[in-house]
Symmetry: C2
């Protein structure tokens, strides 16, 4: 499910799932169209609760985690956690499956890799 | 200049400027305190104009760029661009200096490296 208006690029459109989509920002200016696609992913990570949720999903030992294991980790209501998870999903950072009573979340490593590549900076040759 | 309330960790406090501060989110859950420090940096990048500005600053050939070269690149007023630049600076992503009439902006590569490290994911061993 996605709230991306049709006709716009999406994160998946820009690059293959496991390949960096875009040159690092330290290498060249991002085109406006690319920035429009990438910014929502950063915005989704720009909240402390979503960043923690994202880290719990990305580091889940089984490659996925049940919403029933995410919600108790926070002093927040189930609907609030679900809303944050929806934001992560709509930003293209996670996928989800409903199985029985619960929804299970798994990371999209290719998307995380694209974002990391975008922010990558060459290590200094000397300090 | 910073709008970080005193007493809170800052991006610089978490890690040395040129060393990753935090294990990748794919490795372990981010503590709440760390998420509170890192989220504003992602939030600052979560806007298409700021992401383009950040890329222009990070890729400036001289290591810095004048606001007088940033503003004409957008169909936005000077004050609007200045407000976005202030957000990037307060998030710890750029530094600035006023020299004469103009303000010059330069990236904080150590901070970008920290954010990239946080999102890094091991390459798949097979595809």
């Amino acid at each position: 499910m996605s709230n991306q208006p049709s006709g716009l690029l999406t994160l998946t459109d820009i690059g293959a799932a496991d390949a960096p989509c875009c040159p690092p920002i330290a290498a060249q200016r991002i085109p406006a169209e690319t920035a429009a696609v990438l910014a929502p992913a950063f915005k989704a990570l720009g909240d402390p609760i979503r960043l923690q949720l994202m880290s719990m999903i990305a580091s889940a030992p089984d490659g996925e985690i049940c919403v029933c294991d995410l919600t108790p980790a926070f002093d927040l209501s189930g609907p609030t956690i679900s809303h944050h998870l929806k934001t992560l999903r709509e930003a293209g950072l996670v996928d989800s499956d409903r199985r029985g009573t619960w929804v299970y979340y798994r990371p999209r490593p290719g998307v995380l890799r694209q974002l990391a590549g975008l922010l990558s900076v060459e290590a200094p040759s000397s300090v």
